[in-house]
């Protein structure tokens, strides 16, 4: 069992995952530490994104998928029939590769989530919008144009807006699927600095095919290959003395 020293936020036990008849994940066991950054790396098709999406039941929307084993968040089984999926996703924010702001104002993008969760008070909403934009390091750039369309922002700004939007519902876990792979180096650095700030308050899980990025931002790294969790450990250890030859081959670019 792969374990970390810190308090476990997510506990995955003997998980198998299938797309119809095709098995995509094999016997995954993992504890993900609270308020740390955990990165999933591995070649395309290794199952890292599939695994990420099992953590907030995003795979439910794909027909024919099936999961065996357990995913526990704060000791409760998220695949139990008792689980309220809306409540679960409120607890878990998600950021995708391509920024996907709503075609609305900057303000409305962030206020949208709190509003549908029942926040009506304008001052309270403004407070949420401001604090989320500050947390996502976007406030200074947009504070004078909150009522303009989010579509007018640059790619990097849009991605930080999506992070602000995810934070607005006050999640405990933030899942990021290749959050910076469509951005230029400067915007990427902003996102990476941001991830490092956010881990004070949130448990962050990031999928990336940029190994250097995993090295730079994460505390723990999990290497996946062909649906198997090959190695999981402290990022410093994985990148200086991995235990598995496959991990070594992948991170040194000698995979074949």
């Amino acid at each position: 069992m792969a374990e970390t020293e810190n308090k476990s936020k997510v506990h995955v036990d003997k998980m198998d995952f299938y797309y119809g008849a095709v098995q995509a994940l094999f016997n995954i066991n993992m504890d993900i530490a609270e308020k740390k950054v955990t990165a999933f790396i591995g070649p395309s098709g290794c199952g890292k994104s599939t695994f990420l999406r099992t953590l907030n039941r995003m795979n439910d929307i794909i027909d024919g998928t099936r999961l065996e084993g357990k995913v526990m968040i704060d000791n409760s089984d998220i695949y139990s029939p008792m689980t309220d999926v809306v409540g679960l996703r409120k607890k878990i924010g998600m950021i995708f590769q391509k920024s996907n702001p709503f075609p609305k104002s900057i303000y409305d993008n962030i206020a949208y989530g709190p509003r549908i969760h029942g926040v009506k008070d304008k001052n309270k909403l403004m407070e949420i919008v401001e604090s989320c934009l500050i947390k996502s390091a976007l406030w200074d750039e947009v504070k004078d144009r909150l009522d303009t369309s989010a579509m007018g922002l640059s790619g990097g700004q849009q991605q930080r807006l999506c992070i602000a939007r995810a934070l607005a519902i006050n999640p405990e876990i933030v899942l990021m699927d290749e959050p910076a792979s469509a951005l230029d180096p400067k915007s990427t650095l902003k996102i990476e600095d941001l991830i490092n700030e956010l881990k004070k308050d949130y448990t962050i899980i990031i999928v990336t095919h940029n190994m250097q990025q995993a090295g730079r931002v994460s505390d723990y790294t999990a290497f996946f290959y062909e649906g198997h969790l090959i190695e999981f450990g402290a990022t410093g250890q994985i990148f200086t003395k991995p235990n598995q030859k496959q991990t070594e081959d992948y991170i040194t670019g000698r995979f074949g």
């Binding site: 650095l189 990476e192 600095d193 490092n196 250097q212 090295g215 730079r216 931002v217 990022t235 410093g236 990148f239 200086t240």
Partner: protein
């Protein structure tokens, strides 16, 4: 605001400075144990060398981690590389201090030797070199680092002088030859500490200017080298 890896580099700086502070204290206490014939103090120095060793390993691991995870460039790269090298030198200085303490322990049990007072000057010079090399690192001060380089010649001269005196003393008191060998060993250890301080100063120059100044003796004379 510092980027996340700059915080790691700041942390590395703190670690190497704390290793430097311990080593400085180790040298000072080893010489004190010799001067005061204090075997308990000598024992403390010898035991504390383990702390130096484990800190050296921690620093090396931190350097490797920073290189592997952040791929630093330019001044940050030079800093990490310089720390890797200084780390070796400081650990070596710790060993030398511990060696001096072992000799001090031995000599404290023997009748007092007059020659010991001659160490005061050389030991003061060596300790000042160590202090300056570390201050040069803290303040990235090239001028101060160069002072350390200049002081090394003086330490070499004093060490040679000490050797002559030791040989004379052996000739006069051949029955105490073993003790005089300990004296010689202490003076050799001090000279090596000075050499390590010089290495650190050279690394500081490299760190600040990117210039590698080792092996640049202006009046290089192969015969003189041979004599040494």
């Amino acid at each position: 605001m510092l980027h996340y890896w700059q915080r790691e580099i700041e942390n590395l700086k703190k670690l190497i400075l704390s290793l430097g502070a311990i080593v400085e204290e180790q040298i000072q206490r080893a010489m004190l144990s010799l001067e005061r014939r204090d075997t308990a103090l000598a024992d403390e120095v010898i035991i504390r060398d383990r702390e130096v060793d484990s800190l050296e390993i921690l620093i090396e691991e931190e350097c490797l981690k920073i290189l592997a995870l952040y791929q630093p460039v330019a001044k940050e790269l030079r800093f990490v590389v310089a720390v890797l090298k200084m780390n070796n030198d400081l650990e070596r200085m710790g060993d030398l201090a511990s060696n001096i303490a072992k000799r001090a322990r031995y000599l404290s049990r023997k009748e007092k030797i007059e020659l010991l007072s001659d160490f005061i000057e050389i030991s003061g010079k060596v300790q000042s070199m160590v202090k300056k090399s570390l201050d040069a690192l803290v303040n990235t001060d090239v001028m101060l680092a160069k002072e350390v380089l200049a002081a090394d010649d003086e330490v070499d001269r004093l060490t040679k002088q000490m050797l002559k005196r030791t040989v004379n003393a052996i000739e006069k008191n051949p029955d105490r030859t073993k003790e005089f060998f300990s004296i010689r060993s202490i003076s050799k250890n001090l000279e090596r500490i000075a050499d390590s301080a010089t290495n650190i100063a050279e690394d500081v120059v490299y760190l600040c200017s990117g210039e590698i100044i080792r092996h640049q003796s202006e009046d290089f004379n192969p015969e003189e080298q041979h004599e040494r």
